[in-house]
């Protein structure tokens, strides 16, 4: 619920960005982001919306932790929440897959 996930903006069309999340491309809505967003920017995303444009000099520090989480073979609550944040920007999923 509290955990947003960072990604890199690949393209912007109107209020929708295509964002690369560690190799997975998903649409993200830009309605509530704090600053204008352009390709190459990093954004913090939560339940399908970008909630912050991450300052470029701080993007790497933000990404590293998530790379670590996603790089683990073991599935646990935290890694599952992060994966849910990423995959969840697409179609609705099965009954055991969602977390807030």
């Amino acid at each position: 619920m509290c955990l947003g996930v960072p990604g890199k903006v690949l393209e912007v069309q109107g209020n929708v960005a295509v964002v690369d999340f560690f190799g997975l491309r998903r649409p993200v809505l830009l309605d509530v982001v704090d600053e204008p967003v352009a390709p190459g920017d990093f954004v913090l995303n939560h339940v399908g919306y970008a909630i912050r444009r991450i300052p470029p000099d701080q993007a790497q520090a933000t990404l590293a932790f998530y790379e670590q989480l996603l790089g683990e073979a073991a599935e646990d609550a935290m890694a599952a929440d992060v994966r849910g944040e990423i995959t969840g920007t697409g179609e609705p999923k099965g009954p055991d897959d969602g977390s807030v």
């Binding site: 619920m1 509290c2 955990l3 947003g4 809505l29 309605d31 509530v32 982001v33 704090d34 913090l44 939560h46 339940v47 399908g48 919306y49 909630i51 912050r52 991450i54 300052p55 701080q58 520090a61 933000t62 590293a64 932790f65 670590q68 646990d76 609550a77 935290m78 599952a80 929440d81 849910g84 995959t87 969840g88 920007t89 179609e91 609705p92 999923k93 099965g94 009954p95 055991d96 897959d97 969602g98 977390s99 807030v100």
Partner: protein, 379 residues
Amino acid sequence: MDPSEQARRELKFRDPGKGRALAATLARVVADLGRAPVAVMHVCGSHEQAIAKFGLRATFPKGLDVIMGPGCPVCVTDVPEVDEAVALAEQGVRVATYGDMLRVPGSAASLADAQAEGASIDVVYGAAQAVEVARRTEDEVVFFASGFETTAVATAAVLLGHPPTNFSVLSAHKYIPPVMEIVAEMPGTRIEGFLAAGHAATITGWGVFEPFVERHGIPVVVAGFEPLDILAGLVKLVDLIAEGRPRVENMYPRCVTRDGNRNAQERLWRVFRPTGGCWRGIAHVPNGNLRLRDEFAEFDARRRFTIDLRGVRMRSPRALVDQCRCGEIMSGTASPRDCRLFGRECVPETPVGACMVSSEGTCKIWHQYGGHPDLRSRA
């Protein structure tokens, strides 16, 4: 793998030197206080996940209690709110909601029970997906919306984005700052400082906590979610307690500013108004619930439908619920190990209380990471 072994391995993964140094600093500042134990509270399921996952409690000094408060939005969704969703589903309305909400118990039944009896429930990942469900059908679709301010912003955005007329929202959204006041004022509370959640503060800004600090004289530190972020946040928090001059410190500047995301706040407050309401097991929280403003009445499921709760309430109450201690656990006055149901009658497959349902609930997190994440006592 033994959990403590796993924790040591995972802590090694990123900058173990820094982690050890921070843990040593934390031990020193707690010892310097010269009294024990000192108790601090965080209000975020993701913080608890990180603490448990990385075995951080094993590195906390003995004199420091780090307690998870009401930081799981699914867990604090009140019984009558679940009853409303179950009643709507049983009335034939399609209910879309987060997966974690399905098994949250109402007074007699959960949405999963309703689904098993034929009600139409869609699991979605967010408000925007719930709107997509509504666009693909002519049925009435109600989005049963839970979550704190971070998530309520997304619900506000879809309502401002002209959703289809068959879409409406049953809001169980909650707002964190007011419940901190409740916890601070609880008789017998031991909480001397709060660790605030980084991504909720991304929306509200850290300035939102200043009136709280002024009123209660309790310091607040905004922290991120990495093990090092949490350790650094705790060091700063104990420093502030020792100093005796409470204030707000932002230890997560790469995501949090003083003013926060004003665009998001503007949308949030255009759609929602704060109102008093019960948080499950905790208390009535003035201004703790977010409900739709009158301008959005047509999208408010509570005004759009006559919700008949008689059927839901006539069934017999669930077993063991009188022994559930989720409320005390979320208030910080008990821990899962004080609950006689924890890990016995109450497990993730057959949860008694809401804290065992959600991936952000204290009991579910403790159960997943070995049921006893204070690894000192495993050594």
